[in-house]
Amino acid sequence: MTEGMVMNLVRLLLYLVGMIGFAAFNAAYLTLLERKQASWMQLRRGPTEVGPWGLLQPVADGVKLMSKQLLLPRDVDVPLFLLGPIMVVVPPILCLVTIPFSETLVARNFNLGLLMIFAFGAISTFVLMLAGLASANKFSSIAAARIVAQNIAYEIPLLVIVLSLVMSTHSFNLHTIVDQQAGGFWHWNLLRLGTNPLMPVAFLIYFICLLAESNRAPFDMVEAESELVAGVFTEYSGMGFGLFFIAEYVNIVVGCCLATILFLGGWHCPFGLLPGLHWFLIKMYALCVMVVWVRWSFPRTQFYGLLNLSWKILIPLALANLLLTAVMLKLF
Amino acid sequence: MESAMPVKDLKASFEAIAQRDAVSQSLVAETDHAAKGTNLDVTVPAERVGDAARILDLAAYMIEAITGVDWLADKQMEIVYDFVHPVSGERVTVRARVPRDKPELPSISAVFPGANWHERETHDFFGIVFEGHPGLIPLLLPEDATFHPLRKDFAP
């Protein structure tokens, strides 16, 4: 056993633990953030009684969910029903592997990191659908059908936007993409109007697609409470439901990380000063706050309106953006 | 929506129904709205409620309610239909009586689809059978209910 080997193993283990811990911590405390922020918007206090400022609320929720009975309803397809929550939580956590939180803090700087995130993101659609089907509940099945239509519809503009970014950055490597944005916020992709004057629009489209892909309100067809009871999750109890919950929030985190990397200059300070991990986290959590803010401000879109939004507005705009990027690249 | 047919004309139409019957059970009376809450109070034979409803439908009246009353002492049941004109606000009350041991009369749900539920409810409470009703199953009571709680001789 050589020393390098041990170091490697330890490093691997640390990253694994760190990743899962990061995911779990974020999932837990984003729920608290969500509840708190929603409360503030609604002129109330939110969780305050469980721990100081309600900080122990996620702990209580988590422990409670874990200690709840796991019900297996009669008609469900047991193997798929049980696999669903596990499979849905693994891909987004794996996505975290390739995300560079700072110059040095990255588990695996993978050359095709960007692609990997989207590939893994595609798995969760499939699994959510499987879980909905396995529940043998009509509400779940309708929700599953909606998920597919929704995720396919929003994957297209998302990929097209990312494609236009890849065109202008020449790389799938997240580290490289961030490196190109060093030195002040005017170098961020968001504001690089020289390469593409539609960049802010592209960011907006990306953000909308992020909401839709992580099934957040106003696009939360997975869990359209007032229509489909709890959508795909209707039959899940205890930690089965908890894992879906975690997956949803980790998805948001991954999406926000990616937005930070692609558009907001990753770990770079907006003023071109010292870079650092905290800048990345500030930007990322600011985006998370945005996500929550949007959720509690609007009613849910109508399902067909949601598809229309994608096919009639986002996809044409994204394609126009792609075309413009190509033209700009050729010209300048 | 058409404007209201004056109460006078309506009265004439109802009197025409009344005259068609050999034994005139019909009674048409204009009433004081302030005292009775209705402008025209019409009593028709049970089998004529359909005609009455058609007259009111043609005059663009709106169905407001259908009520049953169990007159135990008279061995009769009374069915009261309330109509209101949505533009003029005039009210017409149509009454019909059926014998208590054979409470049957035609349904007006073909004329006023809204009567469907009111008739089901009246059937629930009084056991009055509306002939020609598409589905006279309990509405407010449990699906398998066989009792009629608002009959005066109801005892659970």
């Binding site: 609604q42 229509e227 | 003029s88």
Partner: protein, 372 residues
């Protein structure tokens, strides 16, 4: 392809919404037959909240039925009380002092605002927006505080008595009501910007859930539902009861027949109700709040009569039959929600599930009012 193969109908499935479902606001059950996301047939199954009000009206004295009126349409409980005492007063020929009538109007209109506010919030929850509900509840709490200071309860008021009201209002109430009118007026632009103008909300309401005026007529749908379909039917104008004939207000009417029209009618009605409250407060005469000679055991003469009021949900009517005894011989309670819901089955055919639930929400249903 052979013709008989095409004749086979598309397979549909049955979806049971309720009796406990977030969209049904209580214990309504809707048996939906669906073709994909389209509704083939939606059959409401009601009666899960049947509380025998009409039976209770027969087996107890007139006065003892009063608490029940607060529990039919509990969101706008005062209107039921108004309808019931109105019917009995008409039957017994009681004259109500003017001050009492004004107090009835003021409290009822405040109740209407509270009810519409609750509806706006609940409707938005149906559409998936939660925050407006809490803003509405915030405003609604002010009304409830006001009414509680007079009636002593927050929801199921038992305030009106035959021949008047049981408590007089005091100056605090009048000042509070004026303050509320002012503050509510200032809140309306916020609702307009936050809810009415919101593009998602508009997309979900405009052109959705069309109910023609004729449908409303044939089904007896009243209140904001028929007024959203272009018919200015309002009991307060058609058959002015209480002191409404002395007050100046408009009946908001929209001709679009969709959910948005019904929403706008209700929002405009809040504004009109504020006007009514303001006027009534200004005109509030001095004097007693109870008629002098109301016998303790009321025994109206034989006969029957009908009395209806414009409740927050439409025309609430009471047909009371008296046989000269202490108890009503028969008490028919005509609830607006009952008729409003009855048109759902026909009008939701061919709609998308989401739209049908928006339509259901826009009818403003209070289930125990339907089930009685």
């Amino acid at each position: 392809m052979s013709s008989d193969a095409q004749a086979i109908h598309h397979e549909s499935f049955v979806l049971n919404v309720g009796p406990q479902h977030p969209a049904t606001h209580g214990v309504l059950r809707i048996k939906l037959t669906m073709d994909g996301e389209y509704i083939v047939d939606a059959e409401p199954v009601i009666g899960y909240g049947h509380r025998m009000h009409e039976k209770m009206g027969e087996n107890r004295s007139y006065a003892k039925f009063l608490p029940n009126t607060g529990r039919m349409d509990y969101v706008a409980a005062l209107f039921n009380g108004h309808g019931y005492v109105g019917a009995v007063e008409r039957l017994a020929g009681l004259v109500v002092p003017e001050r009492a009538e004004y107090i009835r109007v003021i409290t009822c209109e405040l109740n209407r605002i509270a009810s519409h506010l609750l509806w706006v919030g609940a409707f938005l929850v149906d559409l998936g927006g939660f925050t407006p509900l809490l803003y509405c509840f915030d405003d609604r709490e002010h009304i409830l505080d006001l009414i509680e200071s007079v009636t002593g309860s927050r929801l199921t008021f038992c305030y009106f008595r035959f021949g008047g009201v049981c408590n007089d209002v005091d100056d605090n109430f009048i000042v509070g009501a004026r303050d509320f009118v002012a503050s509510m007026r200032s809140r309306m632009p916020m609702y307009d910007a936050f809810v009415s103008k919101n593009i998602i909300f508009r997309k979900r309401c405009e052109g959705i859930g069309i109910l023609s005026a004729d449908d409303c007529r044939k089904y007896g749908a009243t209140g904001p539902v028929i007024r959203g379909s272009g018919v200015a039917y309002d009991v307060r104008k058609m058959e002015p009861y209480s002191v409404y004939s002395q007050l100046d207000f408009n009946v908001p009417v929209y001709t679009e027949c969709d959910c948005m029209a019904r929403y706008r009618v209700r929002i405009d009605e809040i504004v009109e109700s504020l006007r009514i409250v303001e006027q009534a407060l200004g005109k509030l005469p001095a004097g007693p709040v109870m008629a002098d000679k109301v016998p303790r055991a009321l025994k109206p003469p034989k006969g029957d009569c009908y009395f209806n009021v414009e409740s927050a949900r439409g025309s609430f009517g009471v047909r009371a039959f008296s046989d000269g005894s202490e108890n009503a011989y028969r008490l028919k309670l005509r609830s607006p929600c009952f008729s409003n819901l009855s048109l759902f089955q026909e009008c939701s055919r061919g709609m998308l599930l989401t739209d049908a639930l928006a339509l259901l929400g826009s009818l403003d249903l209070v289930i125990p009012d339907i089930d009685r």
